[in-house]
Amino acid sequence: MLELLGYLLIFLGVMAFLISAIGLLRMPDIYTRMHIGTKTTTIGTFLVVLGAICIEPSWALKLILLIIFIFMTNPLSSSVIARASHRDGATLANDEFKDSQK
């Protein structure tokens, strides 16, 4: 039963990765690409590793360490790339919104 729950969680996580890849192809702008690329990969990794904990409970320590690590570093690297590309002069795809930082 726990193993079945693990397979279900892994499948949902991989679906989140597929949504991330589709979003990277379809989004028009660097900021929106970064938005979908960060959030969906964070939740996808969380679900895959949680499913792995459900399948193999004896590996739980390393896997929880991996979850904590991903949750700490993933928003940080996204923030660094967003700030850098804004200072590099990336533009918004939609003209309706003004860039208030310029």
Partner: protein
């Protein structure tokens, strides 16, 4: 089950690789690289479950560390140059 999940993950890695090769600016390529490396971490977790080797989890942890460092250094390079 594991084969199906790994095939879906590899398919999304290839779609991200297309953005990596095509991406108009350097920032797009760096974002695609970041997403691909995190997909690689999950792929290593799936391989550890498939081959029943807990050694691959250590490799996943170190790979995540190196990819975070790479994204941060590329961000600094976009911002200030070398």
């Amino acid at each position: 089950m594991f084969e199906l999940v790994t095939l879906i993950l590899l398919f999304s890695m290839f779609m991200t690789l297309y953005r990596f090769l095509k991406g108009p600016t350097l920032s797009d390529r760096v974002v695609a690289f970041d997403v691909m490396s995190i997909m690689g971490v999950s792929l290593l977790v799936l391989l550890a479950l498939y081959f029943q080797r807990s050694l691959y989890l250590d490799i996943a942890l170190v790979f995540g560390l190196i990819s975070f460092l790479g994204a941060t250094i590329f961000g600094r390079y976009i911002e200030k140059g070398i």
